[in-house]
Amino acid sequence: MTTKDRKLLKGLQTDFPLTSRPFAALAAEAGCTEKEMLAYFKKLKKDGMLRYIAAMFDLRKLGIVSSLIALRVPESKLNKTVKIINAYPNISHNYLRADDYNVWFTVSAASERKLKAILAEIRKKSGINDMLDLRTRQVFKSQAVFELR
């Protein structure tokens, strides 16, 4: 990444202009044309440096309930269990970690009832009952902002 890339990206990590032509607004600040700014973003996207631009919601304010779930899955059942978990659109992240509880995923649902139903279904389908439901109590930070050097 060039210094210019980092500078431009850093400026973008906090807010994307809320105006009819946001790329023109960014271009005006960076001293280039709207066309150049758009081309720059498309290049970042193509290079995989930019995943997307979007509105970030506070899910709790939308009444959505979320949790972090840890499962203790034996090696022999790992592939099948991961497939079952990943099939849910409600599950956004799923990781393998080096712990007795080795599978960790985040789940969100429109209601408590829905969340419990999803977890019950996963237990039933996978046959894994050793599950920690680490319900969110308070969010101190939820932001993908990095210090770019």
């Binding site: 809320l18 790329f23 919601f57 939308l62 972090l68 799923n94 712990d99 429109a110």
Partner: protein, 157 residues
Amino acid sequence: MKKDVKKIISALSDPLALVSKPYAAVAGRLGMPEARLLSRIQAYKDAGVIRRVGTVLGHFKVGYKCNALVMWQVKEPKLEAAGRIFAGFPQVTHCYARQTYPDWPYNLYTMVHARDKKESETVIKSMSVKSGVTMFKVQFTIREFKKIRSDLKEILA
């Protein structure tokens, strides 16, 4: 949630197109004037429903290859202070207080991103020193099975 609010939120849960007028494109899909959509987004921001409109970078590709889930065992009266201290670290992207169980005492969870294991260990140590929390467990990611943006359309459906 009101039906029209749900429609707008669902439409906004899609990433913005890389075009000159990305909000106009969303407004077009919703069949509403662009100006009205912009003012609705501003209102959601003011209400805290939308935290921000922003870019999400591909962490792995900008050099943050090492991510660790660090779970902390914090004495309940110190939880709030520790949460704020951890949230102040630029390498910490997520900091959540969570439910505990008799055999699972960790109540504060942080995601720490660093370039390598050594750097993340330095950060974690500094978090411990600064907060005074000495009971913690570090879990590095071995494999990423899934990582997507929460699909609000599906969740709210």
